[in-house]
Structures are given as C-alpha cells and as structure tokens.
C-alpha cells in the first residue's frame, strides 16, 4: 500500500528510487506504468495530467525478473523492439557492445542466466522511444564490471535528454548513478533530493547513502 508518494523528475535526469525490501519501489513503478490500479493520484507530464491510457506514450517500464516470450531468441526479441519503435540499426548496434548481446543473440530467452536476462531487458528498455524510462533493479544480477558498464550506458542515455527513473536496492550503486534520490520506506516517501540535500536532511555532513538511509528510516 502506498500513501503520499509524490515527487518530480526533470528531463535528462536520473532519479533513483531507494528503499528496503517491501518499501514499495516496484509498486510505485507499476502504478506509474498503469500496470497496477491506484485509488487516487495524478501523473503530470509537462504540467498536464496524463490519463493511464496516454501514459504509455510518455513512459516505458522495464520490470525486474520477467521472462518475456521465453521460446524466442534474443536476436528476435531485440529486433522486434527495434522495429516496433522504428529505431535506427545503429541504436541496437550501440547497445550490443556494452551489454554483450552478440554472444547471446542466438540463445532463447528461457535459456539465459539471470545476468544475461537483465542485460537483454535493459536493451529492450533502451530500444523504446518514450521520453521517460522506468527501470526496476537495473543492476540486479550483474557483476561488478557489467554494473559499471551499464551505469555508463544509463548516464549516456540520460545525456541524450531521456529521463531515467530507476529503483535500486544497492545503495552504493544508487549513489553513483543517480542525480537525485527518492527515499521510500513502508510505502511512504521519506525524503527526496540530491545526495547533499539528503545529507543535510539527515544531519550527516559527509555521510554515505547507507548512513543517511539508516538515519532517516
């Protein structure tokens, strides 16, 4: 159950949604994407309310832990999204290197490991064209090297003006990749701001995100 969760995000910004397990991070993302019903609340885009039907024109949400069209190959899945969103072939080619897609392109989705599946799902999200991209746990299942590569990829994507809203439970990763953070606990927004602003709210001048999190929750 979520209550009084409100925040803003600007164009080209990477906004992190952090919180403990069960805080409601995925629920927030699925409510925004129109995949879970809400009792009240509005989603405003450029200041105007956007109905759930038109919301998918503004944002795309990549869930965590799904196994989409499991019997199909990775190559087909990515080409499907590339064509559906009329992306230039260079877009997919540009993702293939950092996400190491070439080595798994002939594999069926069902046969992918957790990390491989995550890389494919990230590619799916980055192939869509909506101005706001929601990613649920984008680093879950990735090793250290892959995590750094994906962080760079996400920063590059935001540099194109695309807004990223990512839910992350690894606080160190969140601090590295996000411009601003929304701290969620037990379905409520506890704090919102840059790392500096959160340090000020928690009275921890040089505190890391873990200390801030513990202080505010």
């Amino acid at each position: 159950m979520l209550a009084d969760v409100s925040f803003t995000v600007g164009a080209g910004e990477v906004l992190g949604l952090i919180g403990p397990n069960g805080a409601g991070k995925t629920t927030v993302l699925e409510c925004l994407a129109g995949l879970l019903p809400i009792n009240s609340g509005t989603f405003k885009y450029h200041g105007d309310p956007l109905s759930s039907r038109r919301r998918k024109e503004a944002l795309f949400y990549v869930p965590d832990g799904i196994l989409p069209w499991a019997q199909q190959t990775v190559k087909w899945l990515l080409t499907f999204f590339e064509r559906l969103y009329s992306q230039a072939p260079e877009k997919l080619a540009g993702l293939a290197g950092p996400l190491r897609l070439d080595e798994i392109s002939r594999s069926r989705v069902v046969n992918l490991s957790k990390g491989e599946r995550k890389r494919v799902l990230l590619a799916v999200g980055l192939l869509t064209s909506q101005p706001l991209l929601l990613l649920d746990e984008p680093f879950d299942g990735l090793d250290l090297r892959q995590t750094r590569e994906v962080m760079t990829l996400l920063r590059n994507e935001s540099a194109t003006g695309r807004t990223l809203f990512v839910s992350i439970h690894q606080l160190n990763d969140a601090a590295k990749v996000c411009d601003r953070l929304v701290l969620l606990n037990a379905g409520k927004r506890v704090a919102e701001g840059t790392l500096g602003e959160l340090q000020a709210q928690a009275n921890l001048k040089d505190g890391g995100l873990e200390e801030i999190f513990l202080a505010l929750t």
Binding site: P37, F60, I66, W69, Q71, S129
Partner: protein
C-alpha cells in the same frame, strides 16, 4: 512525445504484433500437437466413413434399397469433419490458452500492455493468428474431401461450404473461450479447468434441455455442439451464425477486460457485468432472427416446394402440443422430420411439450403419444410422425386443400463402394511426418 505513431490494423506496429503472435504460435507445442492429432482423428474418421459408405452402397451385399438417397454429407463429410468438433473441444482451446497464459505467467504481459496500440488491437492480433491456426489444422480435412473426389465421390458445394462455415464458427468460439478463460484465470491449468467446465456444462445443458421446449431448449440450441448440428444438417440458420459470432467476440472482450491489470477488480467486475448484459441483449435479438437457408442438396430441412407454398398461405398461428417424453424416439422423429421444417415454413408456430416423464417407459397417462394440433380455434389429434399425415392434418385445420405431390422427384442419392486408397498412408504417415519435420525446421528460426 517523439517516436509515437498512429496505430491502426494496417500500421507497421500492428503487423509487428501480428508477426510476434505468429512466432509465438509456431513456438507453441499445443499448436503442433493439435496438428499432429487432428491428422489421426480425421484419418480414422474418414477411413471408417468411407468403409461404412461402401457397405451401405451395396459393397457388403446389403439391402438393395439402402443405397437410395445416400448423401455424402451424412456419410462422409459430417463424420470426417466430426473430428474437428473433438479438436475444437479438447485440443484447440489449449492453443488459445497458451497464447495468453504464457504471457501472464512469464511477465511478458507487462511489456505487451505498454507496446503501441490498444489492448483490443493486441487481442485482435491473437484472434487472427488463432484463426490461422484453426485453418491450418483443416488441411487433413480438406485432404479428405480431395481424396473422396479422387475415389469418384460426390459433394455438393453449398452444403460443404455450409459445413465448413459451421466448423469455422466452432473454432472461433473455442478460441474465444480459451482466450477468455486464460484472461480470467491466473495460470494455464486453471484456464484449462474453466474451459473444460464450460464444455461439460454445455453438454449437460444439451442433455437436460432435449424435448423440454421453452427457454431452456432455445438456449440449448446455441451450445457449440447443437449450433454445429444445424450446419451438419445443411441448414444455415442466421440466428446461430450471429449468436456464435457474438459470443466469440464477447469472449475476446472479456479477456480484454481481465487482462487490463491496471484496472481495479471492482472496475473489471462492473465491466464484465455490462458486457454480460450487452451480450445477452444482442444474443436475444440475434436469436430472434428467423432467416434460414436450406443448403442441403436433398432439401432435408424443407418440405417439398408445393407443401412450402401451401404452408406459406397459412397466416393463422398453429399450436402443437406433444405428449411424448424427451427420450421417446418418436419425438426425435417428429423433431427431425416435422418440427424443424415447420419452424422454417410457418411464421407463427407454438410448440408445447406436455409429457410429464423423461423416458415415457412407465407413463401411464391415457393420452401419452398424442400430438394435438390447434389452428383457428379448431383442434385435432394425431399420433403419426409421418410428414404427409401431419401436413394433411394441418391443411384440414386451415381449410387448405392438400397439394398434389405426384410430380416431385426424389433425391437420387450418390452410392459409392470405394476403398479408402492411400488414406492410411496420408493421414497416419505422411501428415505426421510433415508436421514433425516442419516443427523441427521452424524451431531453429
């Protein structure tokens, strides 16, 4: 919002979705199993039917009169294509269920719902691909018709097309039912239980409603089995066609309501209720469409042209009260030979089933077996279920003279004592081989 394009059924996005559904169909084991088993079912039905037809045509030194009036619709087409009734009941729903349930269970639905286009267009893509799957499964049935012709067999195009139309609608209904069940249920197993429960329920309704008359019997005439029966008899009832189409479309809409996971349960329940009311209203209107066409070559659903003309002149309502129990074979005769035709010929016909027992075996009622006819304030009773006798009673009540039937030509029949040559090789060997090899080649795509 750059990159967002208008969406229509001819848009590239829809074609992409269609291609995706097509690939999903080819990846579905249920589809390949349908193709595999339907070949065996059609083959067995066809080989048995050809053998029986040959025996009835005099191959087995049977009675000389038997070949007269033999129709390949009853003798070959209906039993052979009966395999598709079984396939539509027990195999095809699982192809439809898989197309929806796999996306629900894997989480792909969450991506699908966000893709360009409305949910209805996505379901339309699924519907079109399911239709394609059903038509591909017809290949053994079509091969059986071609084989029958190669043996020198006869078919009458209008009644054949009518039969195929019935099976097309039967498939649509099964597909819609499967999609709706998958939309409602959490997983494929629950959806399969819902589908089978519905099928068994319609069988029970068929059994209970037989010979009861009234609303229950009318309702039972639209169960999948009963609806298909009229097509198998060479009768095109527009009410049945419209009801089957409406229910199939409603099933897809129901799936759409329950796949829209962003809506509250309350919203979905209300939408389901509204859909039920609207569908019931539309079905009620469609069920009152009286237009029919007798597509059979032997005009089994019509009286002779002279009798049709004479009955057409009777404008007063006719009431028939039948004192025969539902399981009495005389009632079946009366339904098949008289009532079915009278319902088409007379504008105002009321039928009352007045027997109190189900079997009639222990019916001690004095009047059991009587059939009362009431027209223009006059009543008469008759026990016969012979067409000419019944019609003469009606003409007498209406004050119309019975027409002269002496110049009528009977249906010649098409006896054929043929052996089902090559059928076993085609249905039991060649077809399974084609299915398995095609599956093997396509799975590597």
């Amino acid at each position: 919002m750059a990159g967002w394009r208008k969406f229509s059924l001819r848009s590239p996005s829809f074609l992409q979705l269609l291609a995706k559904e097509f690939r999903e169909l080819l990846a579905s084991r249920a589809f390949w199993l349908l193709l595999l088993f339907v070949g065996f079912l059609v083959g067995h039905s066809f080989i048995t039917a050809v053998g029986l037809y040959a025996e009835m045509s005099g191959n087995g030194n049977g009675p000389a009169a038997l070949p007269q009036g033999l129709s390949s619709l009853d003798g070959i087409l209906v039993p052979t294509w009966g395999a598709y009734d079984l396939a539509a009941t027990l195999l095809f729903p699982f192809v439809a269920i898989r197309m929806v349930s796999s996306e629900k269970e894997s989480g792909a639905l969450k991506l699908l719902l966000q893709l360009p286009g409305t949910l209805s267009s996505k379901l339309a893509a699924k519907g079109l691909v399911l239709l394609f799957a059903w038509l591909v499964s017809w290949l053994p049935g079509i091969a059986a018709i071609v084989l029958w012709h190669s043996y020198g067999g006869h078919t009458y195009a209008p009644e054949t097309v009518n039969l195929l139309l019935g099976h097309l609608l039967r498939g649509l209904l099964s597909g819609g039912l499967g999609v709706a069940a998958a939309g409602l249920a959490d997983g494929a197993a629950s959806a399969a239980i819902v589908t089978l429960a519905f099928t068994v329920g319609t069988w029970a309704l068929d059994f209970v409603a037989a010979g009861r008359g009234g609303f229950v019997q009318q309702l039972a005439s639209y169960t999948p089995t009963a609806a298909l029966r009229s097509f198998e008899q060479g009768l095109l009832r527009f009410s049945v066609l419209a009801v089957m189409l409406l229910v199939s479309i409603a099933a897809f809409v129901l799936a759409g309501i329950w796949l829209n996971i962003g809506r509250t349960i309350k919203f979905r329940l209300v939408a389901t209720l509204v859909l039920a009311v609207v569908t019931a209203g539309a079905v009620w209107i469609a069920a009152n469409v009286r237009a029919t066409r007798d597509q059979s070559e032997n005009h089994r659903n019509s009286f002779s042209p002279v009798d049709e003309a004479a009955l057409g002149g009777i404008k007063q309502p006719l009431k028939i009260t039948i004192l025969l129990s539902p399981e009495d074979p005389r009632l079946t005769d009366f339904e098949q030979n008289i009532l079915r035709k009278l319902r088409r010929s007379l504008d105002k016909l009321e039928v009352e089933y007045a027997a109190s027992s189900r079997t009639g075996l222990f019916d001690s009622e004095e009047h059991y077996g009587e059939i009362w006819y009431e027209l223009g304030g006059q009543k008469t009773v008759e026990r016969s279920t012979i067409e000419e006798v019944v019609l003469d009673q009606i003409y007498t009540l209406a004050g119309v003279s019975a027409p002269d039937r002496s110049g009528e030509e009977g249906f010649p029949g098409y006896p054929l004592a043929a052996q089902p040559k090559h059928a076993a090789a085609i249905f039991y060997l060649f077809w399974p081989l084609v299915v398995i090899v095609t599956w093997w080649l396509l799975r590597r795509l």
